[in-house]
Amino acid sequence: MSSSEPLPTPKSLGTVLVIGGCGFVGLHVVDQLLNFPSEKAQPKSQSPISLGPNKGRYAFNFSALSTRYPSYDQQTTKVHALDLKCTRNRLPGCTYHEADITDAEQLLRVFKEVKPDVVINTASPSWEAPRKILQKVNVEGTRTLLEVAGGVKYGSWGGKCKAFVHTSSSSVIHDAQSNLRNADERWPLVIPNEREYYSETKARAELEVLKVNGKDEVGGMLTSAVRPAGIVGEGDMGGISYGLCKTASVAPLWQLHIQLGDGDNLFDTTYVGNVALGLLLVAEALLITHKRKSEGKGEILEHERVDGEAFIVTNDAPCYFWEISRFAYSRMGKEIGGVDKVWALPEGFANVIGGLSEIFGAVSGRKGKINRQTVKYSCIDRYYSCEKIKRRCGYRPVVGAEEGWARSVDWFLEWDRQERERGTGEKKSQ
């Protein structure tokens, strides 16, 4: 079986097309497939970041990702990325293609050019996007992508895609309000999902993907879905770590000491590199299964199957939501006190504030930081078991939760600094 240990012989996945390759997750998939050009591009920053509690003798250096994640044979692994716009997050060694995944014609053009063996779909709008966009990209886009990749409905593009790995979301089994503890893949999908339409579209897309696994209508292409929980890491521009960092960068210190609820709720997050690892391990397993099938070997045992299956991926380390926040704040250099300095608002009270903020937002037309749903998310347990992908694909969280968060915060600081510089630069030039 595959293993996440760096192997002496580099792996090979053939020609890989990463959909959404300039996005947050896509970038890291491309980076991993190319053996981390991002680390070569930026030699260790001149002053190693040592902030918050990890300063002085406690400063910790991360070891290079390239030495820890599996490496890929660059002769036999060809990396292509497809995105709506390919202007940002470009890495040397990858070929970029611009196309809209809801447009079969455009997709077909790229497929004819790339002829991928593996498609990894990481495209998704932000969870805050309008319902229409969510439906269009997540559900229809995924369907179109499957149909084009399958090479049947829209005709052959001159090759055969063997494996299709879809990035789903762990929220597909969450109703956005109840506690979810140690949930695994046996949990039912929540459709319809009244409180979180994003999750509903992700669930519907996942169904589309898994439904066609191995079917003739997609030319026998094997499909799987990976469901990451709370992705954090370098490049996050809309997730939980970005939200917390953004808050800490503007909020006064006392506000960072506010806690909603009792603070005992556990929350799962996943370092983006671990998400990429999960996607690639699943792709590798699909290729093995495909080869096995085409050679006419016996069926794979049900408990070892990867094709047609969904896999939850996490850091395998649920964290207390509010402690994660305090870690992020203090890594940003804020002096955060212990629990005795924290001002814990009861959940009910916070809910009222959330409601008022929503009303205020509706009246003033400005969207506030807090609403009833954010209150909910910050007060409930939401963590999973990732045993299935560990067992069936040899996954393990190579970068731990702490390092993943530290990397994410450090990246934000650097990005924020550059943004500010650019801002002042623009002002000066005016």
Binding site: G52, P53, N54, R57, Y58, N179, R181, N182, R186, W187, P188, L189, I191, L207, D264, L266, A317, P318, C319, Y320, E323, I324, R326, F327, Y329, S330, E335, I336, G337, G338, V339, Y383, S385, G400, A401, E402, W405
Partner: protein, 485 residues
């Protein structure tokens, strides 16, 4: 006689006093020693057990009769070994032989060891070791083999450490060395006990296939003691904190005890606690493999005490000034909770995890790691005692996959649950009303309200009075008769 300070303490902590009383009055051992049937020699062995052990004597003596004597002897033999190792008056070279060969003497009639210095506290046991030998010879071969095997391994391990000049001078170096040291002094005990539990059929044989679980049982206890005893050990010129950990926080081990390095010492101790916490989930897992109540109690009590002690030590500056330990009341509470079932013990662990988290501060370099370690334990507990009805959820998922989304899923279950919720809510509300009314009436009564008169008036025979009063109050005609026209 309890001291004045402890009287004051328990007056302020009535809950703990209650635990002590409860434990003393209501604790029913699952098994008890039957002293009438004991031989004089067996009684001697128990006398030494009570003399040499503070914490283990009680739990050992409540073990199932099958294991009572073997475990008691196992304890005394290891205590004997320990007494030779501990004696600083014997040079290391002189210790080696008795330590390595200790296991060979277990069946040598009349063997004893008299070279301990007079002030060595368990010297007596070794001088009168014949009673242990006499009893040991009568045990089942299987138990004898297990005990001898562990004694041999531990004796060799101790001898190695005694001869290791670097260890004696500088203390434990790496975390790996630390684990190995703890394995020799505690992990091995777990190994021996587990073999005995399985031999007696009181333990799941699967425990033997997961040796890291039994090792964790020993390591968790040993590491907790090492963390707590940092000052005492340092005063005795022993350093068990591994250099790999303390050197991250201070330049010299001795700095840990200096007030000017208190913050660094606290950070160091929390890294030590973090290291110990890593074993907690495996300890709970191990406990799940025990099949007999007295064996469960025997194993669970020390583990609960350990997690409570860890919580007490966590970021506690007093630990570097003096010996600290959990109070007697807390200990009794823990014993009550550790002699029931695994779920109650899990609740104990959860409670102390919360204590640790409350003391965790973001300025600690291991803040998030500690938080994650706590979360890991909670996740593990959730995995063995799920709080949701997993069966139902899974059945729903199964159905969804089989029938597809279009089919309506059975809603009744969820609905009936909501109904129950509403019912409980109603019940709570009703209860609240009763309490509020009750206390209002109570207060009124305290202030002299005469409910007896009211009740009297409410008797059917007196109803006319009430109606009279009613009429009086409402009929303007009646009132007007009293008016001055």
């Amino acid at each position: 006689m309890p001291s004045a300070s402890s009287i004051l303490y328990y007056l302020l902590h009535v809950q703990e006093l209650r635990s002590i009383i409860q434990w003393k009055t209501w604790h029913n051992p699952v098994h008890e020693r039957d002293e009438e049937k004991e031989t004089a020699n067996q009684k001697r062995c128990f006398t030494y057990l009570n003399k040499t052990s503070r914490s283990f004597a009680a739990v050992i003596q409540e073990l199932h009769p099958e294991l009572l004597m073997p475990v008691c002897l196992f304890y005394l033999i290891l205590r004997g070994l320990d007494t030779i190792e501990d004696d600083t008056s014997i040079p290391a070279t002189k210790k080696e032989d008795p330590l390595r060969n200790f296991y060979k003497n277990l069946e040598v009639d009349g063997w004893n060891f008299t070279e301990n210095r007079p002030e060595e506290k368990d010297r007596d046991l070794l001088v009168n070791f014949d009673c242990v030998i006499q009893e040991f010879k009568q045990q089942k071969q299987a138990y004898k083999d297990i005990i001898a095997d562990i004694t041999k391994k531990m004796g060799n391990g101790m001898a190695d450490y005694c001869l290791n000049a670097e260890f004696n001078e500088k203390g434990v170096d790496t975390i790996k060395d630390y684990d190995l040291y703890c394995y020799y002094v505690a992990g091995l005990v777990g190994e021996g006990l587990t073999s005995m539990f399985v031999e007696s059929k009181f333990g799941n044989p699967a425990l033997l296939d997961r040796p890291h679980l039994q090792v964790s049982m020993g390591l968790f206890l040993q590491k907790t003691n090492i963390i707590r005893d940092v000052k005492e050990d340092y005063d005795d010129n022993r350093k068990f904190y591994p250099r790999e950990i303390w050197s991250k926080h201070v330049d010299d081990f001795g700095d840990l005890l200096k007030p000017e390095h208190r913050e660094a010492a606290l950070n160091c101790s929390s890294e030590m606690v973090l290291n110990a916490l890593d074993h907690a989930d495996e300890c709970l897992f191990y406990l799940a493999g025990l099949r007999e109540q007295s064996v469960f109690n025997f194993c669970a009590i020390p583990q609960s005490m350990a997690i409570a002690t860890l919580a007490l030590c966590f970021r506690n500056p007093k630990m570097f000034e003096r010996n600290i330990k959990i109070t007697k009341g807390e200990a009794c509470q823990l014993m009550i909770e550790s002699t029931q079932n695994l779920q109650v013990v899990c609740d104990v662990f959860k409670r102390y995890i919360r204590v640790i988290r409350k003391k965790n501060v973001p300025r600690d370099p291991n803040f998030l790691k500690i938080s994650i370690a706590c979360g890991k334990i909670e996740q593990f507990i959730e995995s063995i005692f799920p709080s949701a009805n997993v069966k139902e959820i899974v059945a729903k998922g199964e159905l969804q996959r089989k029938v597809g989304l279009g089919a309506t899923l059975p809603k009744e279950v969820a609905d009936s649950e909501t109904n129950w919720e509403t019912f409980y809510l109603f019940l709570t509300f009703l209860g609240l009303i009763v309490v509020v009314f009750g206390s209002m009436i109570g207060v009124a009564w305290l202030f002299g309200a005469r409910f007896d008169l009211l009740l009297n008036d409410l008797k059917p025979s007196n109803w006319h009075k009430l109606t009279e009063g009613f009429n009086n109050a409402t009929d303007p005609a009646v009132t007007s008769t009293h008016g001055e026209l």
